[in-house]
Amino acid sequence: GRRLGEREALVINDPDFQHEDLNFLSRSQRYEQAIRKSSLMVMKLREHGIADPDEIYWFKSFVHRGRPEPLDLHLGMFLPTLLTQATPEQQDRFFMPAWNLEIIGTYAQTEMGHGTHLRGLETTATYDPATQEFILNSPTVTSIKWWPGGLGKTSNHAIVLAQLYTQGQCKGLHAFIVPIRQLGTHEPLPGITVGDIGPKFGYDEMDNGYLKMDNFRIPRENMLMKYAQVEPDGTYVKPLNDKLTYGTMVFIRSIIVGDSARSLSRACTIAIRYSAVRHQSELKAGEPEPQILDYQTQQYKLFPLLATAYAFHFVGAYIKDTYRRISGDIIEGDLSELPELHALTAGLKAFTSWTANAGIEECRMACGGHGYSRCSGLPDIYVTFTPSCTYEGENTVMMLQTARFLVKSYTQVSSGQRVTGMVSYLNDLSRQRIQPQHVAARPVTVRINDPISLVEAYKARAARLVEAAAKNLQAELNHRKSKEDAWNRTSVDLVRASEAHCHYVIVKLFTAKLSEISNAAVRAVMTELCLLYALYGISKNTGDFLQAGILTDTQVNQVNQHVKELLAIIRPNAVALVDSFDFHDVHLGSVLGRYDGNVYENMFEWAKKSPLNKTEVHESFHKHLKPMQAKL
């Protein structure tokens, strides 16, 4: 919208936010630039009176051009956690100072030895009724907090997750507000060891940190006590409902699905624009070199990813809307829809981040050698995005969470109950029970030009793989005693079932979106992309469709053929389709992906600014080369 454009211009043209190309700066310099911009950003947010979370998000993403920054955890985790988990008294004490950045906080959950498996965290908070304090300890090397953003150098407080011990009993994980640095001097407090965890694959501007606590005492009132409480005498009061935390997780995972769509869209924009500018080799002897976008192999690399980016965009919007729709219910205490949404978002987070991660690399490879240069922007998109396969829940573990829900639903159906929502296709199983065949063996007449029919094909595939995994699990249980062991021995099948389920959901959502598009030309091109997405997915997984008898050999041939036809159909619209993502050049950060396509001149201009080019003759010549030549 227009308002967005003004805001964007406000930031992009603001001299305060200008700096040297980040690719040429060291890690310390990048951290410093990020901190500088964040500090200014906070001042300017206040000046412009911007307080709406969505508007803050957009402003921030313009200032930092979609990159991480050291205050991310303060704004994204510390403040929201105070709002949702602090008592009114605690909010009085902490919220306004944190809002005014007197307190800069982070969220310290992950430890060196434990990430996704939260119950395994080892940090302890032991209540001492004599002084009415909690004593925080990092009892082992593995218990050192490791990775929290903004912890290394920036924060003076942290919300620390620790195992609560009171009256000699462990009460599980709870959150505590822990001051870690002296206000004024920023020196670590006695009993606190804190620092930066060193260089990473990306996130150069982020001071991911470590935190070790030795008998560090905080007052009883620093435990976040809106739900669970510890009374002055040490009595523990249980929280009413622990499903509430699902809400936050759903929200964060929906953001990652959106990130998958955005990051893949950026990569596609760069690769497709560059492929229209790059000419190479000859298709026909004697003719000028064609644009590489005219090669079938190049189209086959890029267009399915373009379709995927659109698909993920719709999925991200769907989860966000669903979450908004039911978050009212959640506040009202109606949590009935939450388990399914929670299970679904776990799988979709994994599915979309894995696919986008591979897709970004595919885009980079499709740009040949120049994709490897940091001027392409693609290495940066990749290293910034790829950790999302791990954070907020390691992807394989996420897939298994979805699988748990699928198996549970399957079991319900087997025992005669009906299930609702995205898994309702499992209900068809009960009708199948009278027949000795696989559920999916019932003939699906697939029309490969019809997205709705393809949704049915994906549905049949998901049903077959869920059923196969559930049956294999049952067979393992029949042979072995331990549930966990049986689960482990079926986990490869279970992950496949989850993937098939997520794939079905995405094809379904994309297809459903088509009827909502009113402009006929837009609908036509979106239908082509939707078909490409669905058919390409089949051609990459023909084994599943053939084995289940959903498609015949002949149909598989037709699918492969139709994919290639769609490539040629989409080709004339390819650049327009990435232009529609509407990334500003500054935001794209890529010489190859420039809107004006003036690639080579600008690569040269960019390279001239490289640190190695600061002097015409590098100092290494005088220090090493010349003495060597003299000696030899």
Binding site: Y31, E32, I35, R36, S39, P97, I104, G113, G115, S138, P139, T140, V141, W146, W147, G152, K153, L183, H186, G195, I197, G198, P199, K200, D207, Q280, Q296, G369, G371, S373, R374, T386, P387, T396, S482, E484, N488, R489, T490, S491, T542, G543, L546, A548, D553, K564, Y600, F604, A607, K608, S610, P611, L612, N613, E616, H618, S620, L625, M628, L632
Partner: protein, 674 residues
């Protein structure tokens, strides 16, 4: 039951004591002799001894330490690489090592490319291969003594793999007996050559040769680009560094623009052709041997630049997975090693099997090329097309597979894999460059496909075809006879899977169909390329499985080595079938029920190989210093090492100016306003 060492209490003494019991226990159950397997991989125990002695000599010299590399800037990395290259010259003289000696491959393998002057070596090789005897006599001694430093300038901003498209020009000027070199437009600028951005004084420039207005195609010229006195660029030369990349920070990949730069007639490398003083262009001898040399480069990079990184990544990820404990497999028990999770095994063990498969295919390719070299020396060029197809296809397949394998290892290490201190990000960003250099992979696969199509057509017409592709003419297989999941552990059964030529035959049929229905040849080819790439991949996959099977058959069955290698070979094959199920179900060669048996057999193998996983990576015999990883060290003291190493990060050593300059005013400004 011993306590897991990962939970060592923090007595905060920094001495790492002993091997983590979680890793030690893995080594007790090895089903084979690690030392014997290492010797087998090295090609004999005497090679292992020599390698270890060289590694020891290098690692004991602090000048070669790479401990700080993850903390260094591009400028620092470049300087360190130059310093190391200069030091290496000294070291080689001290140790009596020579460029042509047996030690050199172990030296460069240990350095794993983190050194300057690698393109200087290519510069020398290109003069030796393409230069006349007179040119070799003039330039090689100068380069050997480092009186000049060379580079190799082929790739341009606008052109890479497609060499005919290069735009730099070299025009012969009879009057002065010189070539006039020019960069006529921006896309013609040389771009990417290593050692050229800052170090090189000379380079071999590839340019379109023009004599009397006629273009004779791309030829190599020796061009001096910097002064030998003060290292400043020569007149007409614009040269510099192309800026930061995804890796290779230590290498000064450069750009080069030439404006009316003149070089004497004698600077055109002229083993195969020459421009005579009167401008007559003469070509002699066969360029095929030169062509052969270029072809072998693709094979020569595989071992150190591609397969070695996968072996290192497997070592790091598998050792870490034996130390990392997460969640519980059984209630009440201690947390399980992540290596015990089926999903983790499915990520890592196929990569381990691939590392071994590629080690063996690499040996096979080298033998093949050595034989080819003999034949070509004897003026027999018959095997050249086949060797070319081999080098293109295998370069593409091995680089692609190893790149994805290293990334799988990286992501299998959870959050810690993303720390540079794990060593995995650098391995990944290095190996992935190999998918582009020495020929872009898609282009290479299509070259192999062109060869296969030709052979297929020849076979259909009853003409003789090279031995590696005779399977193309064998009869179409009927149905797979296997009935039990154990049947799929028989190489006779699974080799048949990979022999199928359907992808190729249907591509050929489609090509013909398109041409017969009036499509132009080039358009028909472009229409079939997606499938042709697949066909070329399938061919290389088949040869790899076949060579793995043959290697296992020839192995000594003592010391348990043959048995464990057979498991890996089976896993490599079944993983290939499992991952490409559609190709085998199509046509009904394999039934759905049989595919379930393949899957069952494949998953069973994971559990079997899991028992030997750590010994199998130990056998690669990497020292901790060459791995340079906090997660992958031999002793498995992962967490302590990570913690201590992180503290050495410059971000913890230096006072960040950010606090005083920005954070403090921010904090205090607010304080005063409260």
């Amino acid at each position: 039951v011993t306590a897991p060492a990962s939970k060592v209490s923090l007595g905060y003494d920094s001495v790492l004591s002993g091997v983590n019991p979680d890793l030690a226990s893995e080594r007790l159950t090895a089903s084979f002799s690690v030392e014997k397997l290492t010797a087998r991989l090295d090609g004999g125990a005497e090679h292992t001894r020599m390698r270890r002695a060289i590694v020891e000599a290098i690692e004991s010299d602090p000048a070669f330490s790479r401990e700080n590399q993850y903390f260094q800037s591009q400028n620092e990395r470049y300087e360190a690489a130059v310093r190391r290259a200069v030091h290496l010259q000294k070291k080689m003289r001290e140790m009596g090592w020579t460029e042509n000696g047996p030690e050199i491959k172990y030296i460069y393998r240990w350095l794993s490319g983190d050194i300057a002057f690698l393109l200087h070596r290519v510069f020398m090789r290109s003069i030796s291969v393409l230069g006349s005897d007179k040119q070799v006599a003039k330039w090689i001694p100068l380069a050997t003594e480092h009186q000049i430093i060379g580079s190799y300038a082929q790739t341009e901003l606008g052109h890479g793999t497609y060499l005919q498209g290069l735009e730099t020009t070299a025009v012969f000027d009879i009057a002065t007996q010189e070539f006039l070199l020019n960069t006529p437009k921006i896309s013609a600028m040389k771009w990417w050559p290593g050692d050229m951005g800052r170090s090189a004084t000379h380079t071999v420039v590839f340019a379109q040769l023009y004599v009397h207005g006629k273009c004779y195609g791309v030829h190599p010229f020796i061009v001096q680009i910097r002064s030998l006195q003060d290292h400043s660029p020569r007149p007409g030369v614009t040269v510099g560094d192309i800026g930061p990349k995804m890796n290779f920070e230590h290498t000064d990949n450069g750009y080069l623009m030439l404006q009316n730069v003149r070089v004497p007639r004698e600077n055109m490398l002229s083993r195969f052709c020459e421009v005579q003083p009167d401008g007559t262009y003469v070509r002699w001898g066969s360029q095929k041997i030169n062509y052969f040399t270029m072809t072998t480069v693709r094979i020569s990079i595989l071992s150190d630049e591609v397969i070695l990184p996968l072996m290192k990544a497997c070592t790091i990820a598998i050792r870490y997975s034996a130390v990392r404990r997460q969640s519980k497999l059984k209630p009440g028990e201690q947390e399980a090693k992540i290596l015990d999770y089926q999903t983790q095994q499915q990520k890592l063990l196929p990569q381990l099997a691939a590392a071994y498969a590629f080690h063996f295919i690499n040996i096979y390719l080298h033998e093949l090329f050595d034989r080819g070299y003999q034949e070509i020396q004897g003026r027999n060029f018959d095997s050249l097309p086949e060797l070319h197809a081999f080098s293109s296809g295998f370069k593409a397949m091995v680089t692609q597979y190893c790149t994805s394998g290293v990334e799988i290892c990286l992501r299998a290490c959870g959050g810690h894999g993303y720390s540079l201190l794990s060593g995995l990000p650098s391995l990944y960003t290095r190996v992935l460059a190999s998918c582009i250099y020495e020929g872009e992979n898609t282009v290479l696969f299509l070259q192999t496909a062109r060869f296969l199509i030709k052979c297929f057509m020849a076979a259909s017409a009853g003409q003789p075809i090279p031995p590696s592709v005779t399977y193309l003419s064998s009869a179409k297989p009927g149905k797979c006879p296997a009935k039990d999941k154990l049947d799929f552990l028989s190489p006779d059964v699974y080799l048949k899977f990979f022999q199928f030529s359907r992808l190729l035959s249907s591509s050929a049929a489609k090509l013909q169909h398109l041409i017969q229905s009036g499509a132009e040849k080039h358009e028909a080819w472009n229409q079939c390329t997606v499938q042709l790439v697949k066909a070329a991949q399938a061919h290389c996959h088949y040869i790899t499985v076949k060579i793995f099977v043959e290697t296992v058959e020839k192995l000594d069955n003592k010391a348990g080595i043959q048995k464990v290698m057979k498991h890996l070979c089976d896993l490599f094959a079944l993983h290939g079938i499992f991952s490409n199920a559609g190709d085998f179900l199509y046509d009904g060669y394999l039934s759905g029920a049989q595919m379930d048996l393949v899957t069952a057999s494949y998953l069973d193998l994971l559990a079997v190989i899991r028992m030997d996983a750590v010994p199998l990576v130990d056998a690669f015999d990497f020292t901790d210093k060459s791995l340079n990883s906090a997660l992958g060290s031999y002793d498995g003291q992962v967490y302590q090492r990570l913690y201590e190493w992180a503290q050495k990060s410059p971000t913890n050593q230096q006072v960040s100016p950010a606090y005083g300059k920005y954070l403090k005013p921010l904090l205090q400004n607010r304080l005063s306003k409260l």
